[in-house]
């Protein structure tokens, strides 16, 4: 019996407790252990999506190309909105590509619990693995679309003198990080809330679509001023998109305060999202 007593003193590898008593879900080491699963999920999402489709990976290009054409015709030519003197296709495409990444990460990760409920009902792995893999698989997609964007960009560099590439372009990867975190933060929060209130799912699709027009995608921030501009800057994506244009074209509204407040909002969103997600992941299976 003596040996059992000493055994009991020893540390256990795993302690399962009721929800309220601890916040274990965010252990980073746990997620690091599952990094192979993340990479396999990314592989699956990226490879399997377009299998048995005729156009295959061309779909990655088609969506931004068509949207750009429509925006150019409707907002550029018909409505004659300013593009800060930039060629219309590059202007629109820069916004569209970044926004797509943000909205896909947000919408997909907000469906984490619903889409994975059959797997989650059977096996445990840190639930955060799913949104993280969504961030990365969509990042690959973003990479592919950025190649398209820079092809168009290069075309205008050569044929016109409206765009002058600078070393600022090298900073672009740094901008991708806050987009990913922002999308994931919002997505996690929505995911946690949709567990109980399914209505939110419809609202979010709608809201993200509307939010697109409260960001400088179809117009430059310089076109608007006063309270309206402040309103648009409340969308944390606005400052990012403007900064991206500054880095690419040397054109746009850039203030450190814009970027700083956007990053601030990102971290608050992420923290809140992580907190509620961690709470929801422990019991959602009883509710879904």
């Amino acid at each position: 019996m003596g040996s059992t007593l000493t055994n009991k003193e020893k540390d256990w590898d795993l302690v399962i407790e009721p929800v309220s008593s601890s916040m274990q879900a965010l252990r980073i080491s746990q997620i690091w252990k599952y990094r192979d699963l993340i990479s396999l999920f990314v592989h699956r999402d990226f490879v399997a999506v377009y299998k048995q489709t005729i156009l295959g990976p061309i779909w990655f290009f088609l969506q931004p190309i068509l949207t750009t054409i429509i925006f150019t015709v409707v907002f550029g030519t018909a409505a004659k909105l300013s593009t800060d003197g930039l060629p219309k296709p590059v202007f629109y495409m820069s916004g569209i590509v970044l926004w797509n990444y943000f909205s896909e990460v947000l919408l997909k990760s907000s469906e984490t619990f619903i889409a994975y409920r059959y797997i989650f009902a059977k096996v445990y792995f840190p639930r955060l693995v799913v949104p993280i893999s969504i961030v990365f698989s969509n990042m690959l997609k973003l990479g592919v679309q950025l190649i398209l964007f820079f092809a168009v960009y290069l075309y205008y560099c050569i044929t016109t003198d409206l765009i002058e590439p600078t070393w600022h372009l090298l900073l672009i990867p740094l901008l991708i990080v806050p987009i990913a975190l922002m999308g994931m933060g919002c997505g996690l929060l929505v995911a946690a809330l949709t567990v109980k209130f399914r209505d939110l799912k419809f609202m979010v699709n709608f809201a993200v679509d509307l939010l697109k027009y409260v960001s400088p995608i179809i117009f430059p921030l310089s076109m608007i001023d006063g309270t309206l501009q402040t309103l648009i800057l409340l969308n944390p994506m606005s400052a990012i998109i403007e900064t991206f244009r500054v880095l690419c074209f040397g054109q746009g509204e850039f203030e450190w305060i814009y970027l700083a407040s956007s990053l601030g909002m990102t971290f608050v969103l992420l923290a809140v999202g992580l907190f509620y997600f961690a709470k929801a992941e422990k019991t959602f299976i009883d509710t879904v």
């Binding site: 009721p18 999920f41 699956r44 792995f125 299976i285």
Partner: protein
């Protein structure tokens, strides 16, 4: 005494019954108000014992209540109980799918389970890709899977299809592949639920052997959840019995099985025959009940080899008298192979006239069956016309006992019958 690898300390789990959604916001608000005032959750005390047969006003229920037990390294623990007794809830908590409402679970090492056969397989990916994906979902690393890859493929028997998308697989192949991955997970604590009913007979044998290997030769800790009392008896060292969410018995596997057999028979299958939807009948003869009794006249569904068994059937007919009534109880094994037919004509002849209602009994003095589960098909004909047919009307489990009195029993794998035999040398 060996080291304790799993410790469950007064674990409880509460569920809310009925429609989710209505009034949930109100309850949440009420809970929150209680919490900030430092009071206990008002809905925790509301719930009652989980007995699904009784109607109760409470909207909350304890699926399991105050369960505690320890499991030592290398132990094979049976968790038994009828449907709804809380077995699955307990497993869900142990495998971290849901968290307990109260109590703590502590464990050493990795816990894996064979209830996740084929989880997360993607139809568009090849068998190889799916083995990696499935393995990673279960918690293996890529290197670990690569190391075991050949064994997994070998075990699954799907080598030829390994580069084909899984959507082209037969459902059996998917199950095999899933099981193979799970079987090579090699966790320190393994949970085996009754998934072994899947796959063909050849694969089932393979799976059971693998389980035995895990439990016996590798000294791994196993939690075995099953309704198959024979398997429990032959595999497990200890057992716990759950009833209505409470732990009612802890002891050796044999005692646990006996306790289960004694405690549970009555409510489980009484009059089950009468409400079966899959019965084929003309309505001229109705069967209201079918059951098994031991020598003492007690209803049982677990017998030992060599026990006396009585199969009883209650019937009622719209006819005044029933001459030429043929009653047959056909005995089948778990795979559906016919073993023997018990037929009244073969013993009584055809001339006997049966009353319009009554109880028909067929007795076997010394059950010549080895350990296993046996099913009965009931067929009743009147004047050569089929009036009643119910397949798998009921089953009973036979446990091994010392049938021949020498302490040796033939392996049930090589045959289910125990024949009287004489050996001699000249």
């Amino acid at each position: 005494m060996s080291k304790i690898v799993l410790s469950v300390e007064s674990v409880s789990k509460q569920y809310r019954l009925g429609q989710t959604g209505t009034g949930m916001l109100m309850h949440d608000v009420n809970r929150w108000v209680h919490r900030i005032r430092g009071k206990e959750d008002p809905y925790k005390k509301l719930s009652v014992v989980n007995d699904r047969t009784k109607v109760s006003d409470s909207k909350y229920v304890w699926a399991i209540r105050d369960i505690s037990f320890d499991v030592s390294q290398g132990e094979v623990l049976a968790i038994i109980g009828k449907n709804g007794s809380g077995k699955s809830t307990l497993l869900k908590i142990l495998s971290r799918i849901t968290s307990p409402t109260e109590g703590v679970v502590k464990m050493r090492g990795r816990l894996g389970s064979l209830l996740e056969v084929g989880t997360g397989m993607h139809p568009e990916l090849t068998g190889k890709e799916n083995i990696f994906l499935n393995g990673a979902i279960l918690g293996m690393t890529k290197t670990e899977i690569s190391r075991k890859f050949d064994d997994i493929v070998d075990f699954s028997g799907c080598a030829r299809y390994i580069d084909t998308p899984v959507k082209r697989y037969s459902s059996g192949m998917i199950v095999r592949m899933g099981f193979a991955v799970a079987a090579f997970l090699e966790p320190e604590i393994l949970i085996i639920d009754e998934v072994l009913a899947v796959g063909d007979a050849e694969f089932q044998l393979k799976a059971i052997d693998k389980m035995k290997q895990v439990a016996e030769t590798e000294g791994r800790t196993v939690l075995f959840v099953s309704h198959n009392m024979t398997a429990v008896q032959s595999l497990c060292t200890r057992g716990i019995l759950l009833n209505n969410g409470a732990l009612t018995y802890t002891g050796s596997a044999e005692d646990c099985v006996k306790e289960y057999g004694d405690a549970n028979y009555h409510e489980v299958r009484e009059s089950a025959v009468a409400v079966r939807p899959d019965v084929i009948k003309t309505g001229r003869i109705e069967v209201s009940d079918f059951w098994f009794e031991n020598r003492e006249g007690e209803r049982k569904f677990i017998f030992m080899s060599g026990d006396s068994i009585q199969m009883k059937l209650n019937y009622k007919s719209s006819l005044d008298e029933l001459p030429f009534l043929s009653v047959s109880f056909a005995l089948h094994d778990a795979n559906g192979s016919p073993l023997a037919e018990l037929w009244n004509f073969s013993v009584e002849g055809a001339e006997k006239v049966y009353p319009p209602s009554g109880t028909i009994t067929c007795s076997i003095n010394s059950l010549p069956l080895n350990a296993g589960r046996y099913y009965i098909n009931i067929t009743i004909r009147h004047r050569n016309q089929m009036d009643y047919l119910l397949k798998h009307a009921a089953y009973f489990d036979v446990l091994q006992s010392d049938f021949y009195g020498q302490g040796f029993m033939p392996n049930p794998k090589f045959g289910q019958f125990l024949l009287e035999q004489n050996w001699s040398t000249t």
